[in-house]
């Protein structure tokens, strides 16, 4: 299908073939139906489903969100319908689309991760798994799996051992050295990495002296975190040989190009969807026109081309 004027956009993320490097970030695109009136889902490289757990989770009490400078805090609390309901009620919706569906999964114990991964491995229509390791580990006093390299290693290794699907591990930025977690997760067998998840933050209403979020703290997303995400992607791509997916505050094609140039093999659009439901398409078209304008025939000729004097 490639013509002379259309740049090559396809990438391979740890075994998942994508027609282009544009993905929707987990938790920002619902189960697909919410944004299908606004964009042609077929044009996405991949669709990452909202995080799925073994059973349904009702999430945190409201208020769950608050706008902050150049971004927002959220404490949705991983509300989801559970993996079984997803397979029965939501997954069939995607059959009509030609898009890679990647299921984001999480658990409070390693057994839960394994259980969800096994269930998704048995159904057609899932191209890969993205493991959210920012979830609190109940057996370790609520410390997130991703905060501790040993647990991050263990959850990755065990999920890999029960599934044939490519496994992407989504890393948390709330660590001292993200490259250390990235290296151990690669050793554990991860096929790709997504980074970054939200940065932990909070906001206070000075009139009431109460936190704006009922959960007190939440995850910061949006343009405010983009420089941090970009720096981490740059650091990690130099340390690992598996593909890295850049995510964090990408609002437009310019932002996405920065991530590709520092070495991201693909990018995820998250909070930008809320501001512009067509953000994924605008980013895709913007990257294509940049490539045409700069005589770049294939996306691989752009990825990792950062020049440092």
């Amino acid at each position: 299908m490639k013509s002379k004027n259309v740049p090559g956009m396809s990438v391979n993320i740890g075994g998942i073939e994508l027609k282009n490097p544009i993905m929707t970030a987990s938790g920002t695109f619902g189960y697909g139906e919410e944004y299908s009136p606004y964009i042609d889902i077929n044009r996405l490289g991949a669709f990452i489903v909202k995080g799925l757990s073994r059973g349904p989770r009702s999430g945190n009490p409201p208020p769950r969100i608050i706008e902050t400078a150049a971004g927002m805090l959220n404490a949705v609390g991983l509300q989801n319908i559970g993996v079984d309901a997803f397979i029965q009620e939501k997954l069939p919706y995607f059959n009509r689309f030609d898009v890679a569906v990647i299921a984001n999964i999480f658990g409070e114990t390693i057994d839960e991760y394994i259980n969800v991964a096994e269930k998704l491995g048995d159904v057609p229509g899932i191209a890969g798994l993205e493991i959210n390791i920012s979830c609190p580990n109940v057996k370790k006093g609520g410390i997130a799996f991703g905060d501790d390299p040993d647990t991050a290693y263990e959850v990755t290794r065990q999920v890999k051992s029960v599934t044939d699907l490519p496994v992407i591990v989504k890393l948390t930025p709330n660590v001292t050295d993200i490259t250390r977690v990235a290296r151990v997760v690669e050793e554990a067998g991860a096929d790709a990495l997504s980074l970054i998840n939200t940065l932990k933050g909070m906001a206070v209403n000075v009139a009431t002296k109460k936190p704006y979020l009922k959960n007190i703290t939440g995850g910061l997303s949006g343009p405010a975190i983009k420089p941090v995400a970009l720096r981490m992607v740059w650091e990690v791509t130099r340390e690992v040989s598996i593909p890295v997916i850049g995510v964090g505050g990408i609002m437009n094609a310019h932002d996405a190009l920065e991530f590709l140039i520092v070495g991201a093999m693909a990018i995820q659009i998250g909070t930008a969807n809320f501001i512009n439901p067509r953000a994924t398409m605008d980013v895709l078209e913007g990257i294509q026109s940049y490539m045409v304008g700069n005589d770049i025939a294939d996306i691989h000729d752009l990825i990792g081309t950062l020049t440092v004097d």
């Binding site: 920002t28 999430g59 769950r64 969100i65 706008e67 150049a70 927002m72 809320f274 501001i275």
Partner: protein, 284 residues
């Protein structure tokens, strides 16, 4: 890829401010020129707005539609709002001919069953914003149909007489307008919940329906009354929102509609209009 499909797709539209004025201190009415598609908007639906060419506010802000008019190809909607925070402060400075991004109409509106004869609108403060549109909509409906609604009474409450918003419009659209003020400066001296309680006997028959919007404690009070008298009631809810389409799950309220299991429903997609009985009003 197919270029034509895009035409039928929803998109964020650019709307121009055609009028914007302060109705009373800190309360503004902004009129926007919108595409003709908005003619299908129903009372209770809302729009998400952002200022074109500005990074702040970052997220769209949700506002219920306060009125909708259509003359020929020109469709206008009204946004009635109070200046509370950063977003509304920025909006309040917008001048005629400035442009906004608008998503909508969004969410579910009020539904009026065809067998209802008596309608009560119960509004507290800014809660009148979607109910004024409903009053106009009902007046249009009833004049077109022979049977149906016999009376629409509006119970309008505010802290003080100055803040009884949309009063003149309601006098024209409703059969009767009942007033309450917390400070006694006009009408019944007390809350609109008490005022409605004083007249609730009129709605105890099976042909009544109540539509309600206002601060949470006021809606909780109305919930108690309508449950006691078995009067159907729809309520319009508000929460902070990010996406407006049901994707982010930021704007939830506690609900109880599926059996007795408590769960969260999104104001943007499951609402903003709910059956008042489905909402959990107090911490249990």
């Amino acid at each position: 890829m197919t270029g034509n499909i895009k035409k039928s797709r929803k998109s964020i539209i650019t709307a121009r401010v055609v009028d914007h004025h302060e109705v009373v201190k800190n309360h503004f009415l902004m009129t926007l020129k919108v595409p003709i598609d908005f003619q299908t908007a129903v009372p209770g639906q809302f729009v998400m707005i952002r200022v074109k060419g500005r990074d702040e506010p970052f997220l769209h802000r949700p506002f219920s539609i306060n009125f909708l008019t259509s003359h020929g190809t020109e469709t206008l909607i009204g946004i009635l709002y109070k200046v509370i925070g950063k977003g509304t402060t920025i909006f309040s400075r917008l001048k005629k001919d400035e442009e906004l991004y608008v998503m909508g109409p969004l969410g579910s509106g009020f539904t009026v069953p065809s067998d209802r004869k008596k309608v009560a609108l119960v509004a507290g403060g800014m809660g009148i914003a979607p109910l004024s549109f409903l009053a106009e909509y009902l007046k249009r409906q009833t004049s077109f149909s022979e049977q149906g609604i016999e009376e629409v009474v509006c119970y309008l409450g505010a802290s003080t007489s100055q803040l009884l918003l949309d009063r003149e419009r309601l006098e024209n659209t409703c059969s009767k307008l009942m007033i309450s003020t917390d400070d006694g400066s006009d009408g019944y001296h007390g809350t609109v919940t008490e005022l409605f309680q004083n007249h609730v006997d009129a709605y105890a028959d099976s042909d009544s329906i109540v539509f309600c919007c206002g601060p949470d404690p006021m809606m909780a009070g109305i919930a108690d009354i309508v449950k006691k008298y078995f009067i159907p009631c729809q309520v319009s809810m508000e929460e902070r929102m990010a996406c407006g389409v049901g994707a982010c799950l930021g704007c939830v309220v506690r609900a109880k509609s599926h059996g007795d299991q408590q769960h969260y429903m999104t104001v943007c997609k499951d609402g903003p209009v709910f059956d008042i009985r489905d909402i959990i009003w107090r911490q249990e």
